[in-house]
Amino acid sequence: MLQYVAKRLVLMIPLLLGITLVSFVVIHLAPGKPTDMATMMNPKASLEAKERLEKLYGLDKPLHVQYWNWLKRLAVLDFGRSFSPDREEVLTKIGRRLPITILLNVLSMFLIFVVSIPIGVYSATHQDSLFDRATTVFVFVGFATPTFWLALLLMILFGVNLGWLPISGLKSMDYDQMSLLGQAWDRTAHLIMPVLLSAFGGLAGMSRYMRANMLEVVRQDYITTARAKGLSERAVIYKHALRNALMPVITILGLSVPSLIGGSVIFESIFAIPGMGQLFYASVMSRDYPMVMGGLVIGAVLTLGGNLLADVGYAWADPRVREGRS
């Protein structure tokens, strides 16, 4: 098992290099420089001042030299400093925001798991029932719903009209004056809508997927065998079928990491949550090269990590995979 993980880790290295190269090229081939912004704001800035700025950021060197320098610093986890006035370390800045984004995504993944698996299993075992048809409709509509729009509607309903849930931030202004219980509820209330909404897209996909898996598995010979030896339908479905139907779900969970991270840009900006997505959006808008590079690289690394976890989980569940048999 350890050997399998080690092999996967080594295979990740060329991908990581590729990720840095693509991010670097994308951002540097584009017209416009951060110094344009800095000098445009100040009409008195001379050409000389602009050149000085460029030298400061190393933008006057050839592209491949810039890349090599950046890569060297990356090797020691130095992403450089943000171009923003506070000149903070990129990694520090991301490090402060990342836990919030990860928390939100882990919560919504958990929600996807606990809701969609029972739905999928029930739909598959009661194929063409009213429930099955209703979920099929839900899945189709769910796929087509722009989640940021759904967020707006829920904000109008629960936030503005009913006043049940807060619509921005992670805690209220008077958080410090609350009792311990009040603080706990305040935190939870702020999380309900963002988590529900970021789980929404995945819910539709995962229940559909789970249903298809289940339908596939119950047709297998070992299920017929289990039935033939007189097991109860309950044991057949939940012990024999479900376990096998769950296996591919591990992979899908891993593969959904990039879309969850990408989605965090939208949710965090709608709900004003100070996470990684909001930070990335702000950096992109102000052409903060080091921050954007850092964000792209960290985002891709998280995706790789998700894939690795999925592969390891799969190998752990299926001995054929870890021994290299197909």
């Binding site: 060329p14 991908l15 590729g18 990720i19 693509v22 991010s23 994308v26 951002i27 584009a30 017209p31 416009g32 189709f140 509509v141 796929f143 087509a144 719903t145 722009p146 940021f148 729009w149 759904l150 707006l152 509607l153 904000m155 109008i156 936030g159 503005v160 619509i167 559909r208 298809a212 990491v257 990039p258 879309s259 991270i261 990408g262 989605g263 840009v265 939208i266 900006s269 709608i270 990335f280 959006y281 992109v284 808008m285 052409r287 954007v292 964000g295 792209l296 985002g299 891709a300 998280l302 995706t303 790789l304 894939n307």
Partner: protein
């Protein structure tokens, strides 16, 4: 003997699929609305009326007015043109890139395949939305840039699909026959194999249009897509967010339009897939 051709067969199955037909009707309606926008819209979408700012739905303005007193229904009708354009151009770009790279990988195999497919893996590592966001903000937001970037970051699925098709098709007899007759690689790839792989491309393109429309609306909503005053369904929703506590109609209707359009394309795409090959039915 009277055997039905593949198209007749396809149409016979497609016609029976009521959901797919409904999807087709929605897509046709979108085309009609975009082309007839100047005649359909009750007002000039850019006409500012300071006397009727943020008015709720009424007989004069069925979907209400925005913060500049412009008629929301008219803006949505003109906004449908954006959705139509984005869907087609972005998916067109993605399909061409994916088709060429997938064909090369599948046909030549070996190191060509290895290089292209590793590049596909690499591109799939990026949270697509991060990549799109970064490129767009750097290139200045505009409808053309959005379409290009959505296309350039969305070809990987098509490439994988085409590669798989080529892997199975390239050793078929008709390809061997073409080669024996002296056809060169380009001719075999584009004239012999590709036409046989068009069905899955059509399906993935139809579903891709739906995805592109959703992405464009999200980008416009974030303010880095189609720029005001040009109306798009996404940027009307931004105004909805800015006036969230006073003007629900700015949020409700444009989103509903996106939902119905995307649903239409999805139903149509799935319908085409099921009718092309009933065995693929999920």
């Amino acid at each position: 003997m009277n055997t039905a051709g593949p198209y007749t067969e396809f149409w016979r199955r497609f016609r029976k699929n009521r959901l797919a037909l409904a999807g087709g009707v929605v897509v046709l309606a979108l085309f009609a609305v975009s082309f007839l926008a100047p005649w359909l819209s009750p007002y000039d979408p850019a006409f500012i009326d300071v006397k009727s700012v943020l008015e709720g739905p009424s007989r004069a303005h069925p979907f209400g007015t925005d913060n500049l007193g412009r008629d929301v229904l008219s803006r949505m009708i003109w906004g449908s043109r954006i959705s139509l354009k984005v869907g087609f151009v972005a998916v067109g770009i993605a399909t061409v890139i994916g088709m060429v790279l997938g064909a090369l990988a599948g046909y030549y195999g070996r190191w060509v395949d290895a290089v292209i497919m590793r590049f596909v893996d690499l591109m799939l590592c990026f949270p697509a939305f991060f990549l799109i966001l970064a490129v767009i903000a750097i290139l200045e937001p505009s409808i053309w840039n959005i379409m290009i970037v959505i296309g350039v970051t969305g070809w990987m699925g098509v490439a994988r699909l085409i590669r798989a098709e080529f892997l199975t098709l390239k050793s078929r007899e008709f390809v061997l026959a073409a080669r024996a007759a002296g056809a060169n690689d380009g001719r075999i790839i584009f004239l012999h194999i590709l036409p046989n792989a068009l069905a899955p491309i059509l399906v993935s393109a139809t579903l891709g249009v739906a995805g592109a429309i959703l992405t464009e609306s999200a980008l416009s909503f974030l303010g880095i897509g189609v720029q005001p005053p040009t109306p798009s369904w996404g940027n009307i929703l931004t105004e909805g967010k800015d006036n969230i506590s006073i003007a629900w109609w700015l949020s409700l209707y444009p989103g509903l339009a996106i939902l119905v359009t995307v649903l239409g394309y999805n139903l149509l795409g799935e319908g085409i897939r099921d009718s092309l090959d009933p065995r693929l039915k999920v």
